[in-house]
């Protein structure tokens, strides 16, 4: 196992750098003819709207700014700069560099969204093509590219469900969205955003939707069901057709959370499983970088009977000319100020071209192979287990439980995660899904070589050995990262909470 030591610059806050009147950037000067014509612009500003004091921004030179942020970048961990990032449900596959190169072209970066359609045929063509490919992969009929993230897509999906029932005069009684207890937290929150109540149903012993439980809650109050397939345990919901039948039979709609699409591209399609609405996370399945939290992109596809409700505008094509179509009288309106996150969409477009239909399918196959390999190698490691249907193949991810280890040694999933960080490996998602105690949710993706998987497996084994021989060592991890464990209670306590430099100065002044 190679030794890892993360950079640590003990970097000051930007506010603690520089000195008075230092500037890091020069803006163009006002031309003399301009100032002659308009005079002192400040004298034109209504006096009550002038700022009495300049904002307390840092005053730093260009090189100070550059170094500060480069230092901070070195105290961070990315999939392209680290060694392995098996963060479950997040599909941290390699983010191809070529996509960044084309996305930095001024013919996309310097385009204003209100430009005349004739002047932006290039980007409109890209949006349209990506929409077509997205529909092909998901098996849907029409789509909106407006959602800026997966949860934004879920919100839109719920607005569409709402619009559909309202149109049929049933919205007053159809108030409930059903979500399994293994669902992503965004599912119930998105339903809430659209004004629905959520009804949670338990998973069966096989980790899948409990059909009887589902039957017992559907009815005339059901607006729809939100589901991801494969589910968050990485298990394919075999009974999906029956589930769809039950929900449709009760008059509800089926929503597909596409966070786990990386398991099934070219193998099966949500549209064929009976789903009416689908979102996909381009920043997961289609390789666009996640930027430390965003931007993402979460296009939403629908079956044709819901197309009338899509947000406007949509991108359409006629005789090789692309245009924005606002003509949807039953539209839910808009959920984004413009056309969605275009830059990630362009990157997904380049990614799709690089892989093609056959490559997308192969990507899913290898992603599934990799996760089964890890699950197979780890399930017998001391202290770990593979709950729910251990005999059934996993899809893109596998959820192991460290509850044995926690009981026997006191080393919990959290500590395993910190132990991995010490070995230069990003931790899996932990404590999710909620139905697995001490969960370690591992998603290797297809872009990792076998050596990376083996190194990860080796690292987990080493941590397990340590847990049973010298648990304190694991409990004290991490030591090789920029900082050790943080005081979360202090971060949230009303007396010590500090969310800005202003608050920090106030606290320091008080203390």
């Amino acid at each position: 196992m190679r030794r890892f030591r993360q950079a640590d610059w003990e970097e000051p806050l930007i506010f603690e750098l520089g000195r008075e009147e230092r500037v890091g950037f020069t803006v163009p000067s006002v031309e003399p003819e301009v100032s002659d014509a308009v005079g002192d612009i400040e004298e034109l500003v209504p006096t009550n709207m002038l700022r009495s004091e300049p904002p307390m921004l840092p005053e730093v030179s260009e090189i100070e700014v550059l170094r500060h942020f480069i230092h901070l970048s070195q105290m961070n961990y990315g999939v392209n700069s680290g060694v392995f990032y098996p963060l479950g449900s997040c599909t941290m596959k390699y983010n191809p560099v070529i996509n960044e190169v084309v996305a930095a072209h001024p013919k996309i970066t310097e385009i204003h969204p209100d430009q005349d359609e004739a002047t932006v045929q290039g980007v409109l063509g890209i949006l349209y093509q990506l929409k077509r490919w997205f529909l092909e992969v998901t098996g849907m009929d029409d789509a909106s590219l407006q959602p800026a993230a997966g949860a934004h897509g879920e919100f839109l999906g719920n607005l569409l469900i709402r619009a559909y029932h309202a149109d049929r005069g049933e919205i007053d009684k159809r108030r409930e969205i059903i979500v399994p207890d293994s669902a992503h937290g965004t599912n119930p929150a998105s339903a809430m955003m659209a004004g629905f109540k959520t009804v949670e149903i338990p998973s069966g012993e096989d980790g899948c939707v409990d059909i009887e439980a589902l039957r017992s809650v559907v009815g005339e109050h059901t607006a729809g069901l939100m589901l991801t397939n494969p589910n968050t345990l990485g298990i394919f919901e075999r009974n999906i057709s029956e589930i769809a039948e039950i929900v449709h039979g009760a008059g509800g709609l089926m929503y597909y959370d596409g966070a786990n699409l990386n398991a099934i591209m070219g193998k099966c399609r949500p549209g064929d499983m009976g789903f009416d609405i689908v979102h996909v996370n381009l920043h997961k399945t289609f390789s666009t970088p996640h930027g430390g939290g965003g931007p993402g992109s979460g296009p939403v596809g629908v079956k044709s009977f819901l197309a009338d409700y899509l947000p406007v505008p949509t991108v359409e094509e006629e005789d090789g000319v692309y245009r924005l179509d606002y003509d949807r009288p039953k539209t839910i309106g808009r959920i984004h100020g413009y056309h969605g996150n275009v830059s990630p969409i362009l990157k997904a477009y380049a990614y799709t071209l690089a892989l093609g239909g056959s490559g997308l399918k192969e990507a899913s196959e290898i992603a599934v192979l990799n996760s089964n390999y890890i699950a197979h190698k780890l399930k017998d490691v001391r202290g770990l287990s593979l709950p729910y249907a251990p005999g059934v193949p996993r899809k893109h991810e596998a959820v192991l439980s460290a509850s044995g280890m926690a009981e026997e040694t006191g080393v919990r999933a959290l500590d395993v995660a910190k132990g991995l960080l010490d070995r230069g490996i990003h931790a899996p998602t932990i404590y999710f899904p909620l139905i697995v105690p001490e969960a370690l949710m591992i998603e290797p993706t297809e872009t990792e070589p076998l050596e990376a998987l083996d190194a990860f497996i080796e690292a987990v084994k080493e941590i397990s050995d340590l847990a049973y021989s010298n648990p304190k060592e694991v409990l004290d991890a991490p030591r090789n990262t920029a900082v050790g464990r943080l005081d979360e209670a202090r971060a949230a306590h009303p007396k010590t909470i500090c969310l800005s430099w202003r608050a920090y100065c106030a606290l320091a002044g008080r203390g």
Binding site: I14, L57, L87, H112, G122, L360
Partner: protein, 441 residues
């Protein structure tokens, strides 16, 4: 496969019912080699026009210069290709930058708390309306009549499902400013918030902020002006005129236009525990390591968020616009107070130069309102339609302002123009000549 004891990859997909399996190949071109992909994408992008100068468009996305240092930082793989900083020990870099971003936004808008970003200004407005409604347990939000219709549509999508009603407050036909009498009539015990924009959608600065704040607060409502990023040194910070929540667009602070996305939703509020608990989105806090030896950063107050609270969360947002926030942190650090002041001066000066020159032309009015404008302003034509003038400008590879004919027909043949530091005097002079020619036809 050997380890797993399988002979064919499809063995791992055997649990997918036969009738659901996708037979055949996805109808998607490729695979292509990198050189081919690059060629194909760039050929497609070539179809976007090269204009003689940046478009004279604003209204929610603006052509501002992005310093090279900003691009250099956001390209760093350690930032670009990281996920949300769920493991704080190994992601201190991103956490500190976002903390700095939050802090810089607080300084700009004059409030104590800002979140780590929302999708864009429009969705931030939607979230703010919902937050105000939760805080006040009221269900009406008052907005200016002259709001961007796109932003209004998003606000409605965010508020209608939970029964919040949006009412529009009229404007003074001469100044464009909010009609304070109409505001008083429309604000009552049901008003959760009064929302104003500063500068407004049509570019003028809302002056009656004290009265508006008083009216709103007298009725017990929260007032939510938005602050648009690049103007703060010239203009008063909303926190200084008693705004409780501030939303806005961070795109002009170091983010490229990218045909309208990604954008950066700014969201800030007062340091009031009740308000903070109701805030949407991620918050980064400064704390210490457990051994108390040094400073560190971590996500905090996550009990407001969807991954903990599920249907009881303040919002469903998970992925946000973190990298755009990084860009804005770098941008604001580079410019500092002096850079921002200089920027505001050159932008406003050139915009006023343009307004003056255009306004001198026959058959043109610019702007339509008498108030102080910052970088956007209305231009209206007599004798020719906006569409005709627009076509003529395009034929000389100039892109004029956004037509307002459908949005606000009562303004006549009008368009919304925008001038920034990206438009030199020469560009403006060229626009003026082109407009002059267009109107002589």
């Amino acid at each position: 496969m050997e380890e797993l004891g399988i002979r064919h990859i499809d063995d791992l997909f055997s649990d997918i019912p036969e009738d659901l399996r996708f037979k055949g190949e996805l109808d998607i071109p490729g695979p292509y080699a990198e050189a081919e992909v690059k060629g194909m994408v760039l050929r497609q992008l070539e179809k976007n026009w090269t204009l003689r100068c940046p478009p004279f468009l604003g209204g929610g996305v603006w052509p501002h210069y992005v310093p090279a240092v900003v691009d250099e930082i956001v390209r760093r793989a350690e930032f670009l290709t990281s996920y949300t900083p769920y493991q704080p020990e190994i992601t201190q870099g991103m956490l500190q930058v976002i903390f700095e971003y939050q802090s810089l936004i607080c300084e700009l808008v004059g409030l104590e708390v800002a979140n780590a970003s929302l999708y864009d200004w429009a969705s931030a407005l939607g979230e703010a309306a919902r937050m105000a409604s939760r805080l006040t347990r009221r269900d009406v939000v008052a907005v200016p009549y002259l709001i961007s219709p796109q932003r209004l549509a998003v606000l409605r999508a965010y508020t209608e499902p939970v029964g919040i009603r949006v009412v529009k407050v009229d404007y003074d036909k001469t100044t464009g400013l909010l009609d304070l009498e109409d505001l008083k009539e429309k604000v009552d015990s049901r008003t959760a918030a009064v929302y104003i924009e500063n500068p407004s959608y049509l570019g003028f600065v809302e002056e009656g902020v004290e009265t508006i704040a008083e009216t709103a607060h007298d009725a017990g409502a929260r007032r939510r002006p938005r602050e648009m990023g690049s103007t703060p040194t010239t203009k008063r910070a909303p926190g200084d005129y008693d705004a409780d929540i501030v939303v806005g667009e961070g795109q002009p602070l170091g983010n490229h236009m990218n045909y309208g996305g990604p954008l950066l939703g700014i969201f800030a509020c007062r340091n009031d525990p009740r308000m903070i608990r109701q805030m949407p989105g991620r918050l980064i806090g400064l704390t210490q390591t457990q051994d108390g030896l040094r400073r560190g950063f971590t996500m905090t107050l996550q009990t407001r968020e969807q991954h903990i609270r599920r249907e009881k969360a303040t919002s469903n947002i998970c992925s946000n616009e973190a990298l755009c926030a990084v860009a804005s942190a770098v941008y604001l650090s580079l410019l500092g107070p002096q850079g921002l002041r200089d920027l505001a001066e050159v932008v406003a000066s050139r915009a006023h130069y343009a307004m003056r020159r255009i306004g001198e032309l026959p058959n043109i009015r610019a702007p339509l309102f008498s108030s102080f404008h910052f970088k956007e302003f209305t231009v209206s034509f007599k004798g020719r339609t906006v569409a005709e003038v627009h076509r003529d400008l395009l034929s000389s590879r100039m892109h004029g302002g956004k037509p307002l004919v459908d949005e606000f027909p009562e303004l006549g043949e009008a368009a919304l123009y925008c001038v920034t530091e990206m438009h030199s005097k020469r560009d403006i002079d060229r626009l003026v000549s082109a407009l002059e020619e267009a109107l002589e036809r």
